[in-house]
């Protein structure tokens, strides 16, 4: 019943958005007689046609962006995990590292991307670096709070059963922190994709971001712009759902409890 209502509400929203879109496109073209209407806000039918036409090339471009984003995401996650573990083991390290992590997050990616590109002179590397940079912070901070939030009575229980520090981490703290880690990963995954798209637009010769910027200013293949935007948006969603699916597999104890309470 709950999922049925959820699906229905999503479907209703989608229908509303499509109707408004179509209406707006119609008004722009036929009431306001905007000569650029087809470019500013094309009708759904024309988007669908060009989507079908360019689907293959767009998906290929999207694949390129996603693979860079994924590489950056994995590297960033690993760095985030390592930092979180170091900070949780040593209070001194936490005091040394955490404020700078926070400061690093204050630098806008829009400004950082050109700097990174200038530094590496390689667009592929820049895409990976920026995605990793975006990823590591939410992963690190969420995992750290997970590692530090195990209840006192559980740590006492582990000590009562003669667990050493290593066993404490392996048997209690890491498993306890896994859901927190996934929270971080779910925040990071879509932003890693967005970051890779952003770097695409800088001076890449491929990737979905390149298609977007090229069709926006290039004019020649206008028909690809909106489909590219849709695919870019779907990529973020897709990455979120992939991580959610992995979480579903990795965290069976939470899953069980939801089924019971539902």
């Amino acid at each position: 019943m709950k999922t049925y209502k959820k699906t229905l509400s999503a479907a209703l929203w989608l229908i509303c958005v499509l109707i408004i879109w179509e209406l707006a496109a119609y008004i722009l073209a036929n009431v306001l007689h905007d000569p650029l209407a087809a470019k500013k806000l094309p009708g759904l039918a024309s988007i669908a046609v060009s989507f079908a036409q360019h689907c293959k090339t767009l998906c290929a471009q999207a694949g390129i962006t996603v693979s860079y984003a994924a590489a950056g995401f994995i590297i960033g996650s690993l760095i985030g995990i390592i930092l979180a573990v170091i900070m949780s083991i040593s209070g001194l390290c936490e005091k040394m590292i955490l404020p700078y992590l926070l400061a690093a997050q204050m630098i806008p990616v829009l400004g950082l991307a050109p700097i990174i590109f200038g530094l590496f002179k390689n667009i592929a590397v820049s895409r990976i670096v920026i995605s990793a940079y975006i990823t590591f912070f939410p992963v690190s901070v969420n995992l750290l709070s997970g590692l530090k939030s195990a209840e006192e009575n559980l740590t006492a229980m582990m000590r009562a059963y003669a667990a050493g520090k290593r066993q404490l981490y392996i048997k209690l703290l890491f498993p306890h922190a896994v859901p927190y880690l996934f929270t971080g990963l779910k925040i990071s995954a879509p932003t890693a994709v967005t970051a890779a798209i952003l770097v695409d637009t800088l001076s890449a010769k491929d990737g979905i971001g390149y298609v977007i910027i090229y069709t926006l200013y290039g004019g020649g293949t206008t028909g690809q712009f909106w489909p590219a935007i849709i695919i870019a948006a779907l990529l973020g969603l897709f990455s979120f759902f992939i991580i959610s699916a992995i979480e579903y597999i990795c965290v069976p104890w939470k899953r069980q409890s939801e089924e019971v309470s539902a």
């Binding site: 009575n153 006492a156 229980m157 059963y161 048997k171 209690l172 498993p175 069976p252 104890w253």
Partner: protein
């Protein structure tokens, strides 16, 4: 070897708060607990009875005093699994199934997998939870979760069982049932049980001796021998002697209460 399972000598515990004020929680507690004895530490909340239990378990270090558990220093006793501990909350790992939770202490002892499983199943049988081995803790009721906690405490076959208000969160019916289970386990295994509670009737029904602790700072006011016959069944709860003992202990608390005013 000493005839005592646990020896406490002049245990003192002083906390310092944020303003560097010292607060004495335990003041010169001396107590010897015999092997195979069922003893309760009884007192109002905040009287330091849990702190005392945690000192025995080497989860806290006393400011002063000497603790020996199973003839060893407290830390040695903890590291060599001389005691099993049951907590106020079941303290189960939610990502582990019931059987995996019970096996946890055996993993620390590096017991081989097959034997871990065999021994955990054995304990599962004792606490009457057969059929739940693959359930997650959240799928069980509070009473069942606490029984898993007891099975986990027993699985290493320790000489001593430390219990920190284990039934205080349970409803009366579940509690009475677990009292029966606990006495049966105690009778069959001959373990020394140290049971922390703030419930006078619970302490009287279960124990050989009840240590009455008063608060601020906790002192050992009296150690009351409980003369009720063994094995104790629920029928004991209706006897006059039971009522007398409960009232006797209640009087000790009231006296202390008025003294403090």
């Amino acid at each position: 070897m000493s005839e005592y399972a646990i020896e406490l000598e002049q245990i003192k515990m002083v906390y310092q708060d944020a303003k560097k004020n010292e607060r004495t929680v335990l003041d010169n507690i001396a107590l010897c607990i015999r092997k195979g004895e069922f003893i309760s530490l009884l007192g109002p909340s905040g009287c330091g009875k849990t702190t005392l239990l945690r000192i025995i378990a080497d989860l806290q270090k006393p400011t002063a005093g000497r603790v020996r558990v199973a003839g060893l220093e407290a830390k040695q006793a903890r590291l060599s699994h001389k005691y099993g501990m049951v907590f106020q909350t079941p303290a189960l790992l939610e990502w582990r199934t019931v059987l995996e939770n019970i096996q946890l202490p055996l993993e620390m002892q590096k017991v081989p997998k097959a034997e871990r499983r065999r021994r955990a199943l054995e304990q599962l049988e004792i606490v009457d939870l057969r059929g739940y081995e693959n359930s997650y803790p959240r799928e069980l009721s509070g009473g069942m979760q606490q029984r898993v906690g007891i099975a986990r405490a027993l699985v290493t076959e320790p000489e001593i069982l430390l219990m920190d208000e284990p039934f205080s969160a349970l409803d009366e019916f579940t509690k009475e049932r677990l009292h029966g289970d606990l006495l049966r386990i105690w009778r069959n295994t001959g373990k020394t049980i140290v049971f922390v509670t703030h419930n006078i009737s619970e302490a009287v029904f279960l124990s050989d001796r009840v240590c009455v602790l008063s608060a601020n700072p906790a002192r050992l006011d009296a150690v009351v021998d409980i003369q009720l016959p063994r094995p104790r069944e629920d029928a004991v709860l209706k006897t006059e002697e039971y009522f007398k003992t409960v009232s006797y202990i209640r009087d000790i608390f009231e006296e202390k209460y008025y003294e403090n005013i």
